[in-house]
Structures are given as C-alpha cells and as structure tokens.
Subunit: 631 residues, 2 copies
C-alpha cells in the first residue's frame, strides 16, 4: 500500500479552505464581524446583566444580513437555508447564550412562522421577526411531555361563535417548560396545542399567541414564570407559560398543514393526524441541524484552548533536564488527538448535512425527507455527545487552570451540557435513526414512541430479509490478509463500518420479530441493540463523509495530512468498538491489538500538526483569550 508521507509543516490556511467548504465566503464574513463586534465574554456577569447583554448583542446581529438568510426574499430575506444554518453554527464559537437566543428567535420561532404559517402570517410577522421588533418564543415542550411531543396536553379549542381559538393548559403537566425568550423578552409565542374543533381532536398544531403587551406585562390569562438559574446558558431567559382560556383569532392558527374554516370545519392536505404532525416537525429540522453544528464549533474552541495549553505547559523533567511539554505525553495525546480527529470527521459530515438540507427540493419524496431528518437527528446526537465528552477532556487536560472561568472552558462545559437533551433527547433521536433504518424508509412513522417502533416492526417487517452486500466479503478478504497496512486502507475501514451496520440491523430486526406477542417487553429487551443500530449507522455516515472530503481535497499537502486525520478517526472508532468486531469475528485478536498500536502511532505522527489542525478552525482570537495561555 502507498501511504503518502505527511509533510513536515502544513499551512493552516490551506486546511481552513477545505473546512470552510461551500459557505466559505459567509464563514469569513461572520468571523470578521464577530471579531469586529467584540462580543464580550459573560464570565463575570450576573444573570440579569448577562440577559441584557445577550439581547443587546442580538440587536447588533439583527443589523447584519445573517438573521434574514433563512427567510424568503419577498420579505427581505436571503432564501439561503444552508447559509442561515452555517451562520448559526458560527455563533457556536462565541457566547452560546447568544447562539441559542438567536436560534430561538430566528430559527425556531421565525422558522415556525415561515414554515408552518401561510402568507397572512408571513406578511404580518416576518419583517418584525427579522428586525427584532417582534420577539418571540417557540412553546412546544411541556412539563409533562418533552420527548413525546405528540401527546402534549395544551388544547386550542375552536369557538365558531366568536371565530376564536381558546388556548388552555388543562393541567400542571401542560405548562410550557424551558421556553427560551419567555421569562423576559418574548411578546408573541408559537404555541403547540391539540387542535379541537366540533368536539373532535385533530392533533397538535401551532398557534400564534401574544404572551405580553408592548410594556412587557403578561397578557390576560397568561402566567409566566422564570426557570431561574441554569447550569449554563444564563443569558437566555427560559421560562414557563401557562394558559388560562386565552382567546386568539381563528387566523392565529399557523395553517399550512391544517386549517379550520369559520364554521369550524377542519381541513388538511394530510389525512393522518400523526403523519401531519411529523410532517410539521420535519419542516423544523433546521434548529436541530444548527445545534449540532454549534456544538461542533464549541468543541473546536475547547480543543483549540486545550491544545495550545498542552503545547506550552511543561511538567516533569526529561533525562536531559528539560521539562516535558505535556502534549508530548502519549497519555495527553490520547485525551485530545482522537477527539480532534473525530471533530474533523463530524465537521465534514455536518457540512454534507447542511448541503443536503439546502438542496432538498420542495417536492422531495417522503423517503428523501425522512432520510434527511434521520441524518439530522443522528448527527445532532453525535455532535452534542462528542461536545460534552471532549470539552470535559479539554477541561481535565488543563488541570486547575481549566476550572477557572477566565480560561473559558468552564463556560463552554456548562453551556453545551444541555445540548444532549434539548432539540430532541439524544437517546430518543438515536431510536428515530434506527427506526428509519428498520423500516427502510418504506413506511411512514406514525409516531415516535418505542412501542410504536416495536409494533410497527412486528407487523410490517416480519419476514423482510435484509440483503447482504459485498461488504462482508471485502472485510473477510482483508481480514485474512496479514498485511499490517490494511488498517490504513480506507476501503477496508469503510467496509468494516458498512458490514457492521448491516449485521447489527439484521440482528435488531430478528429480535423485534417476536414483538407482536409482547410489544413493550420485546422492544425493551432489544433497546440496547436498537440504539447501537442508530450509532453504527451514523458512524458509517460520518466516516464516508470524511473520506469523501479528503478525496476531493485539492491541496496536496492538506490532503496528505487529512488522510492521516481520517485514519486516526476511523481507527480510534474501530478501537472503541473493537469488542464488537472481536465478538463477531471481524477482527482477530492480533489485528485488534494492531489497531491500538496504530492509534498510538498516529497520535505521535499527528502531534507536530496538532496546532495547525486547531488553528485551521480559524476561531476569532478573542474567543481564545484565556489568561492560562499567556504563561
């Protein structure tokens, strides 16, 4: 095999060009602007001051073109979905409260008005949403229902006499919970509620409900509570909303997917309540995509801090008397470099996802739409778990210095922590991914519940035989070979992932076949396999995306370096799951040990490039201004 040597020194700028990808111009623009605006760090602000600062910075953002990118040109927007998501992601380099507040206002609230509403809503609200004259909330999650949003308790009952909807929280579980912009700034909310008309429930729909008047006084019938201090993101004013028979006009219904006539007659282009609901949810994936991407950028920032520190911090002496730079220790490299490689991998997978989101035609097939949603769900889970784990490792890698707020990692940790459970709990999202695979996109999902998964599979998938592709054969052929270099063979790595995915999926399908007898019991006993199916699928997507990015890289030096980074990603992922490969005869014991040795070797080889690899993220320097880096 021909493994090109990594050049002695690679220009970070050449790597930046590869990373910046399709929206490179926009990324440069946002970087320049973040640097110029000098959005300061909130480390020493109390909650109220931080909230005020974030609102002020949001207003500064509103004066740029970015908030409009995701909206229609007709209302002053940019009609550039990919650019919009990319600009949210870039905010992940800075104060994450600002990123989340921007996401709530323009992504979730504005996105719902645009994508669930119709012209009458667009005409009336979009400009104000973009320029912040209308601050709003996205009120979906309830106290009693977070993951299981289809079973929300809030009701919106149509009163034909008054031509109004009555929005109501019938029990304490129906209180809208953790709603961004609710505690302080929001004036209007998109409220998700069970639409009832003519005595019949039509499932969850979205309604525009004023929650405060212009002065900030809560609207009649609306009770607002402050969620108070949180682990992080304290610049975002999360609150609780309870509705006591609040009346809104019939036109408050965001009626793209379902409408109520003056007389109360319900109509919808989609017959099934469940299917309609998931179509509505499906239009809202931009938020999930943005959270994943922002988590990725927060991770990059943590790694940049920890690697810079690791390159200058010295501890313990060598035989020649010099103190050793801690990043020269294998143990330290192991903490940071595989995580850095995975950060690259996830970056390229995210870039592909954003491109797919941007390019999906408005008349895309359901399969295409579901595939996109599953990919968004899987990458959100991967990106955010990776963020939690990596930022933790970065903190530990900086010791006591990493614990001081001034050195920025504490804030990054605290702010990103909730990403694994908001915008979809990661565990539930992985189930969603697995479900998509199991049904092979041939059937529509009625709902998200695990039970439904089990029942569905039991009923529909029995007897379905998943085809084996050539992957297994390739894996076996290469596994038999004694060539040590096979570990660095991209085809072998990719086939290994592909083969694992097929095998796991087949196993899950087999396990779930008996689900008709005891749907919950059978599903539950297989839940760890279901989650694994989701994980190994995303693993494959990520490696394939990284491999594609490397092979299309035009700068020879950058490409040679990225080849090794991709090897480190692939081999450390294989190492992490080598028990499975051993159990299933895909790795021999000696090759498994060779994988570990190869990861160590790659750490040593990439060590001299660690700084270039983080510099390539081109994070505005103000976000790396940690006193610990000043010596």
């Amino acid at each position: 095999m021909d493994i090109p040597a990594v050049p002695t020194k690679v220009d970070p700028g050449a790597l930046t060009a590869v990373l910046d990808g399709r929206w490179a111009g926009l990324r440069r623009e946002v970087r320049a602007q973040m640097a110029a605006e000098d959005f300061s760090d909130p480390a020493n602000l109390d909650i109220e001051a931080h909230r005020a600062q974030v609102l002020e910075n949001l207003r500064r953002l509103a004066r740029t073109d970015q908030p409009g990118l995701g909206f229609d040109v007709a209302y002053g927007g940019g009609n550039d979905v990919g650019g919009s998501v990319t600009s949210f992601e870039m905010l992940g380099f800075g104060d994450l409260s600002l990123m989340v507040k921007a996401g709530v206002q323009w992504g979730l609230f504005g996105g719902a008005v645009q994508l669930l509403g119709t012209e009458r809503h667009h005409e009336k609200y979009l400009r104000g949403i973009m320029d912040l004259s209308t601050l709003g909330c996205f009120a979906m999650t309830e106290h009693g229902h977070g993951s299981d949003v289809q079973n929300l308790h809030t009701t919106a009952t149509y009163d034909p006499a008054a031509r109004e909807f009555v929005v109501h929280s019938p029990d304490s579980g129906a209180t809208k919970e953790y709603i961004g912009n609710a505690a302080r700034d929001g004036r209007l909310a998109v409220v998700f509620a069970q639409l009832v008309t003519g005595g019949e429930s039509r499932g969850v729909h979205a309604f525009l409900v004023p929650i405060r008047d212009a002065d900030g006084t809560p609207a009649p019938g609306v009770t607002i509570e402050d969620c108070g201090r949180k682990a992080g993101l304290n610049g975002v004013d999360n609150g609780r909303l309870t509705f006591d028979r609040v009346r809104v006009p019939r036109e408050a219904l965001l009626n793209r997917f379902g409408d109520v006539a003056e007389d109360g007659a319900y109509s919808s282009p989609i017959e099934s309540d469940g299917r309609r609901f998931f179509t509505m949810l499906g239009t809202l994936i931009r938020g999930r995509v943005s959270v994943g991407g922002s988590a990725g950028n927060a991770t990059k920032r943590a790694l940049a801090l920890a690697i810079r520190y690791g390159e200058q911090r010295r501890q313990f002496k060598r035989p020649d008397g010099d103190e050793v730079v801690i990043l020269d220790y294998l143990g330290h490299q192991r903490k940071l470099l595989p995580a850095l490689a995975k950060t690259y991998a996830l970056h390229f997978a995210q870039e592909e996802l954003v491109s797919k989101l941007h390019d999906i035609p408005s008349d895309a097939s359901e399969e295409e739409q579901r595939e996109l949603e599953a990919r968004a769900a899987g990458l959100k889970a991967f990106n955010t778990w990776h963020a939690t784990r990596t930022i933790q490792a970065a903190r530990e890698a900086c010791g006591g210095a990493g614990y001081l707020s001034e050195n920025l990692l504490a804030g990054l940790k605290a702010d990103t922590d909730v990403f694994t459970t908001f915008e979809g709990d990661n565990t539930v999202l992985l189930q969603l991914v697995a479900k998509g695979l199991l049904t092979q996109y041939k059937e529509y999902f009625e709902d998200l519940s695990p039970l439904a998964t089990a029942r569905f599979v039991a009923e529909q998938l029995v007897g379905a035989v998943l085809e084996r592709t050539a992957a297994r054969q390739v894996v076996e052929r290469l596994t038999e070979s004694d060539d040590g270099d096979v570990l660095f063979d991209r085809e072998w790595q990719q086939k290994l992932f592909e083969d694992r995915e097929e095998h796991v999926l087949e196993g899950v399908a087999n396990r779930l076949r008996k689900a008709a007898d005891d749907p919950f019991g059978v599903f539950n006993a297989a839940q760890d396999h279901v989650l694994r199916a989701g994980r190994v699928h995303v693993d494959r997507l990520v490696l394939d995306a990284f491999a594609r990015a490397v092979s299309s890289c035009e700068d020879a030096e950058a490409k040679a370096l990225l080849e090794r980074v991709c090897d480190l990603y692939a081999l450390s992922a294989i190492e992490e799951d080598r028990a499975w490969f051993l159990e299933h005869g895909r790795l021999t014991a000696s090759r498994s040990k060779a994988v570990t040795a190869a990861v160590n070797g790659l750490c040593a080889e990439l060590r001299p490039h660690a700084r270039a690899l983080v510099d390539a993220f081109a994070i505005p320097e103000q976000f790396l201004a940690a006193p610990m880096l000043l010596g």
Copy 2:
C-alpha cells in the same frame, strides 16, 4: 451453582447498616446534625454571599466535635483519624464548597501543622485551628508546578544573622495558585518551599507564613490575588499568593522531618531529599482520601435524584395506554444501574481504605505506608472519575429538569468537576499506582516523574520475573466450562481481575525493560499500558472489597440483594473491558456476548430495588429537595 433469589422487597435500613460500617454511629450523628442545621443550598447566591455563607456554616461546624476528630487528644482533639475522614466524607452530601473549605482548614492546613510540625507548633496553633480563630491555607501548588511538586520554585532561605527564613517567589511560575482560603479568609499559610541554608538547597519543606493581619490586610511582602469565578465551588475563596522576601522566624519551619539550627546547620532523620519529601507528602494523604469519599457521596446524591426522577417521570405510552415510567426502559437502566452498582463497590473499597488509614501503626513499614498511599491514590482517581461520569449521566437522565439549578444536579456537576485534577491529577495518580506495583514495594520512590519511573524500572527491575499465581489456571478452567452460571461465580470474577492485573503488569515490565536506551521514549510509548496497569489493579481492589463486604453481611435479605449488585458491578466492569479479555483469550466471543446479556438481565432484576438501593444511602432529605421530584 446456587444463586440465592433476591427477596421481593429489601428494607433500605438494613442496607444502610451495612453501608454505614465501622463509623456508623458517627455517620448517624453527622446526618442528624446536617438535617438540623439546615445548611441551605447556594444555588442563587452570588460569589460573595456564597463565600460568606460557607464561612458561617464552617463556624457552625466548628462548634461540633467533628473538626477535632483528626487531632490529638492533648489539644482537645479526638485522635480518631477514620472518624475524621468519615465526617469530611459525609459533608459530600451537602454543599461541596463547605466540604472543601472544611478540608482546607482542618484537613490540609491543620493536618500539615499537626503532621509536619512539632510540639511548639501544636501547642501554639492546633486549638485555634480547630475553633477557627486561626484560619489558614495550604500553599503547595504553584503556577508552574502542580503535579510536579518536587520542583516548586518558591524558596525559603535561612538567614543565620537574623535567625529567620526569607520566603520568596523568584519568578511568576512560583506564585502559589488555586490556594483555598487565600482570597478572603486566611490569616496564616503553610507554604511549601525549597529550603536553602548555607547556600545549599535541601528540598521542599513547609513553613508557617502569616499572609494577613487580624483586620485582613495582606502582610508586608505578600501579594494576594483572587482566582475569581470558577466552574463551581464558588463558596471557596481560592487565591494566588506571591512572596517578596517575606521574613519569618526560624521556628516557622514545620520541623518534624527536617530542621535548621540557629547557626544554619541542617539536620533530618531522613537523608535523601526526595525520600524525605515523599515521606512528608505521604503523611498528608488524608485529604486525598477525603476527596475520594466526598466524591462518592456526591455521586450517591446524584443517583438518588436521578433514580427518584426516573421512577416518577413517564414518557411514551404502552400498548395498554399507560405511559411508561422511564426507569422501566432498558436504555435508562443502563445509564444508571451499573453506575449505582459501581457506587456501592467504591463505597466498600473506600470504607476499607479509611479503616486501613485509621489502623496503620505509627511505626508501619515503608511498604505498608506506600501500599496505603497507592490505594488512596487509586481510589481517589476512581471515585472522582466515577463521580464526573455518573453525575453527567444523572443530569442527562433528568433531561431539561436536570439542567435547572433548582434541581441540584447542575451544582453537583460543577462542584465535583475539579476533583479529578486536584489533590493529585488522576492520570498522575494512576501512574503512581502502577509504579508501586512495578517496584513491588521493594524500593523507595525517589520522585514522581514518569522519567524516573522508566529509569528506575530499567535499572532495577530488569530480569525480575513476576510470578504467575493460580489465577490464570482458574480462569482457564472456568472459561472452558460451558456453564452459563460461571458469570455469577464470584471466584471466577475475582480471578479474572487478578489474572488480568498480572498479565498487564508483566506486559508493562517487558515494555519498560529497554528504557535504559531512551528512557523518555520508551516510557512514553508504554504510557497507556502503565495507566492500564494502575486501573486494572484498582479494579481488583474494588471488587475484592465489595466481595468481602457482601460475604460478611449478616442480614440475609440485604446480603442476597448485595450479591446481585456485586454481580452487576463485576459484570459491567468485565463488559466495559471485554475487548481486552477477548484479545487475550480470557473470554470467548460467546461468553463475551453472554456478559452483555447478563448485565441486561441484572438491570431488569435490580430495577425494582433501585429505590431501596438509593434510599439506603440515607441522604438527609433536604439535600434531595428538587422541585422536579414534586411532579
């Protein structure tokens, strides 16, 4: 095999009695007092208010017997080392800032005066330390040297003319860093510095240096900075101390292990500077033991919160229409129950450690002393990493509710985070454990540096053959058997751990044999194996301790339940490392899969007991008063 059935219902009180162990009476007393004192939670205090509250609570603690437990009866103490450590551990149930502040004052500062000082210091200071009329600091860590404390830069140069030491920070790296009690409350500090007399350096010694006068004004020549906001523990006033030729009398030297006569002549009962230093450090392990135990109690609190929440939170419907309690999901059990089993395991290992610390005779051999230190180091690393991981899992298991400060997990996460890197960085501590094993306690450690480890092994251990015990044979015999029950055979589990330890150690010794040629390179290439040697050793200690605790349990029902908890601990630890067992032929593929199935089975079996298992910790209810548990 005879596996006793777990009773339907086990009384948590019976488990509490087992857990409370040797210092049960004291534990009950501290619980009652914590409940009565109503030490309130600091969630909504700003830094200054929190610091004030912690100091006030410290004064309330000072009025109890606990602070004195670790000190000599002659000065009003209790001479009960184990009780003292246990009482610090119990503070781990409450505000961890109070635990750390108490640890700084009575454990580190007071402990140093008692254990490194002599009668003149005891007579003058111990009473004031106990009753808080003398608030103090433990100034060891420097900006430039944290793990490598032997190479501290601060100097204490003896001036025979004035009969004084001149304490000085010669460079910015010598600034004392992260010093608890320094920023606000401390008046006196135990300062670790290189003792210089007659132009000769004698290594690190400890000196009592006043840092503030009674009014709080910094002493002349002492510069004090505040470390500012930290990720957590903001009730502790950490600061930086810099000394500009500060003069203290000759008697300020804590002179138990080394003294300077009026004329400047140095004397010590221990000749080697390195050995003396590590003897001094060795006397100070109580702090490390207390941190490990407090981390364990913080972990218990997080699990109690998450398991209570998991038992009442419902999400998604069963076929019969009822919503499922989330702890009924296998995926959720997997997040919490193996962690709960490990928490039990670590509790019993910690209890053994505290007993050993308590019982070690003052004339203990060096081997005994080193063994105790290694055990303390290993368990501190295990307890604190387990805390970080488990509290994170608990937060995620409570979703958005877990992110709100009012629900307590956010504070637990933030406060415990630094435990993995203070009182000894965990990675360095695991190396210390491995080193102890490699030298088989036959040689004294000159210093802590990895380099010295490698050189030492290269020079001293070449040719040493580690004996194989019968463990391997037992493992093989049982591995060949097809009896599924072998997984639940405690002897098999223990021998599997023992055999792994031997094998890993042998491998490390082999790798390090070539260290003479390139000490740093060889050590560094083997660092992951060295760390693994430390880990698998501690794994064995922990399982053995748990097994002993179970077999000596006298309550039959509690014992039957603990047997299964011990199985879950052992099998989930085996599962986590099954790649190694597969690579080394200790598990067949089918038995490895059976281990995973057994862990799932144990999760299901222990699910009904989860509440009893956390109630058994008998955490005062006020520390579990999370609004999310009120429905």
